[in-house]
Amino acid sequence: MTLALHLVAGVDFNTLPQQLVNGLLLGAIYALIALGYTMVYGVLRLINFAHGEVYMLGAYVALFVSYFMGFRPDATHPPQATILNLVIMLLASMVVCSIVGVCIERFAYRPMRSHSRIASLITAIGVSLLLQYGGALFLPNSPPPSISESVNPFHGQSKEFTLKGPSQDLVMLVEKAKPAKDQAQAAYQGWLTSHPNADIYNLPADGQALKEAQQSSTDIFNDAEHKVEAGGVHLIIQTGQAVMLVSTVVLMGILTYMVLFTRAGRAMRAVSHDFDSAALMGINVNNIVTFTFVLGSSLAGAGAMMTATFLGTPLTTFYGLAPGVKAFVAAVLGGIGNIPGAVLGGLLMGMAENMVVWAGYSNYRDAVAFLVLIIVLLFKPGGLMGSSKVEKV
């Protein structure tokens, strides 16, 4: 019983919609990264541990491009931010990440393809560590730089939605308090104008009484208004975050089109279905693997640019570690190798994380991903949308 009470202690249902929207945003980014994991796993049966580091590099590319365009944090007169700047940063991140991803595949994973899967997994861990710690030697990371807010044309813009107004009683309270406050204020101001030489810190008795009446009625009014504000269910969405969500959906749409309706996408699905048979059917498997890495890494780059720009998180070379691991968990949760599963898993992960924050356990937000994963895998080893195959001889 005490545990149950303790569990709900920090819960405020009025902030739930806001947290859900935050979870959706975070989940969309996780989904974007998870797509890279899931596609690579689908094609190569390899956990690309270095994917989070590709994401990290994408954020750094966005940072450097923003510096190059003049949006330094110490710039006194940064240029006027436009959407074009953001598009340039996005494209630069996507291109550089694709190149990095393809290089990693070509030089680290391809030689390992004939060896056991564990050997490739260890190589992937090695590449990931190399990028983290090697990057730390050269990339600016202490103090952690962050992309200047001046590059974001939507900075400070937000739209507030009122989902549910405050209760009628509270509104009545404000309406009642307002005339009383106005009256007292008018009386006090009137007294002040009739006594122009009065010292407001040392008033005669009648003035003092009027001043106190004005103060107390203002306090009552402010208090009621504050209660009205807190009593409603509000939703604040920053324009930048909305743009981020829309771009994510657009990118996912493009990806779905590429995978389902292009020749390369069909070949990719074939390779994912059966690597060797696809090769026998005349598909250039290496090109398809490269294509997969281009798709996955550019999505990671796009996600990194957007989080670094719109959320303004400081960058270190471990920037990709937590999102990378969580996105991977999301991919496994949805059923690794399954593209809709990755999106579902990403959204779930983002939601779960924000629910934990909402319940007042924000210190545990990094642990919840794994907890959800372990529970799901115990009951459904193939993930939510994946098929669990029983190994046969």
Binding site: I47, F107, A108, P111, M112, H115, S116, R117, I118, A119, S120, L121, I122, T123, I125, G126, V127, S128, L129, L130, Q132, Y133, G134, A136, L137, F138, V325, F328, V329, V332, N363, Y364, D366, A367, A369, F370, L371, L373, I374, L377, L378, P381, E391, K392, V393
Partner: protein, 405 residues
């Protein structure tokens, strides 16, 4: 009778060796003692992870979690209960704590081992990794054990002998397991789970046992670490520590105890060696960034050429050796050429990097290079044995291993 006398003699030799070691390093500086202790602890950790990863084939990458459970559990007990209990002998208490730490970690290992019954390969890897993170984050958020500030473990007990005794016991347990019929099921589960089940091996039991033994040793190592250092923080047991232990197992050769010991000693000593390097001014050695990248280029060239020779050239052994040497020479040359060009880039040339920061980069490069050139590790599945040593010197005979996979 002969059997038991040999057993007795080996136990006595092991004890004697530990006492001798203590006597040798007992008067050395704290720093030197710490190196010896760290090497011993990492040997325990890598040999115990090798039992799970290499011998049983369950890919676990969260070994630091068990290390942490042992350290925190015993650290907490010592801090709060040492003064309140009747054993006032610190040695006995620490030995007791080793067992407590082992049991605590074994319970954790049992919990992690359970998913391994349903998951395999990379799924198991990510679950063990996740479990490690859950434990670390949970510890970080418990103010009672110091949270992210860490916990003081008082009284300290610094014993080199105990650490090495634990390492020897761990090696002995794993070796004896492999040498006896009890160990065969472990190997068979690694080779083919379904087939071994068909042959009547209780796969569930084998996997859970491997996790139990492996995590128990890690827990005991954690207990010793806590009492040796006197101060532990959650970051001592991060994901990078798990990866370091994994690197040791992989470098030595998954499945080879000898390999794990060798690699653990090498990789535990290396960072301390790097830290000890001093520049001309007596300060820790700084190397220009261009040189670090130049070395990476050299390694890349060496690996590429070696792989080329390895895969494309099948001829006389001596000529092949010459080609390898040529590849090595070219790599060294390319290091200087690369350094020459990189020095023209101001970002590279002006950046001075303290040498101990390069440690994790070296680990990462080691992992990749070993995987590319010798995925089976330095010792592969071979073990050290006298017959193996003799075989090396006999011509025309293939050295055979004690335990072959």
């Amino acid at each position: 009778m002969r059997f038991w006398s040999i057993r007795l003699a080996s136990v006595l030799i092991a004890l004697g060796a530990c006492v001798l070691l203590q006597a040798l390093v007992g008067h050395a500086s704290d720093y030197e003692q710490r190196i010896v202790v760290l090497v011993g602890l990492y040997i325990t950790l890598s040999v115990s992870l090798n039992l799970i990863n290499g011998i049983t084939g369950q890919f676990s990458i969260g070994h630091a979690a068990f290390y942490q459970v042992g350290a925190y559990l015993t650290g907490y007990l010592t801090l709060n209960y040492f003064s309140k209990q009747p054993i006032h002998n610190m040695l006995l208490w620490v030995i007791l704590m080793m067992f407590v730490g082992a049991i605590g970690a074994a319970v954790a290992g049992f919990i992690v081992g359970l998913p391994s019954l349903r998951l395999r390969g990379d799924y198991l890897a990510i679950v063990t990794l996740g479990f490690g993170e859950i434990i670390r984050i949970t510890v970080q958020n418990q103010p009672a054990i110091g949270g992210s500030y860490g916990m003081n473990v008082t009284p300290k007990y610094q014993s080199v002998a105990l650490v090495w005794l634990l390492a020897i016991i761990c090696i002995a347990v794993c070796r004896n397991l492999l040498k006896t019929a009890h160990g065969l099921p472990f190997l068979s589960v690694r080779e083919d789970e379904v087939a071994s089940q068909a042959m009547g091996v209780n796969v569930t039991r084998v996997k859970v046992t491997a996790f139990l033994i492996g995590s128990a040793f890690a827990g005991a190592a954690g207990a010793l670490l806590a009492h040796f250092e006197g101060f532990i923080t959650p970051t001592t047991f991060g994901m990078d520590v798990s990866f370091i232990i994994l690197t040791m197992v992989v470098l030595g050769g998954t499945g080879s105890i000898t390999g794990s010991i060798f690699a653990a000693a090498l990789l535990a000593y290396l960072p301390e060696y790097l830290r000890g390097l001093k520049g001309a001014d007596g300060q820790p050695l700084m190397i220009p960034g261009s040189n670090v990248v130049a070395w990476l280029v050299a390694v890349a060239v060496a690996v590429t050429l070696t792989r080329l020779v390895m895969n494309k050239y099948s001829g006389d052994k001596l000529k092949k050796l010459a080609l390898y040497l040529g590849a090595f020479a070219l790599a060294v040359v390319s290091r200087f050429i690369a350094a020459f060009f990189l020095r023209m880039i101001p970002v590279m040339a002006n950046k001075q990097i303290p040498i101990d920061q390069v440690r994790m980069v070296i680990f990462a490069v080691t992992l990749i290079v070993i995987m590319l050139l010798r995925p089976q590790g330095i010792f592969a599945h071979h073990e050290f044995s006298w017959s193996w040593v003799k075989g090396l010197f006999k011509r025309g005979e293939v050295p055979h291993s004690a335990v072959s996979a």
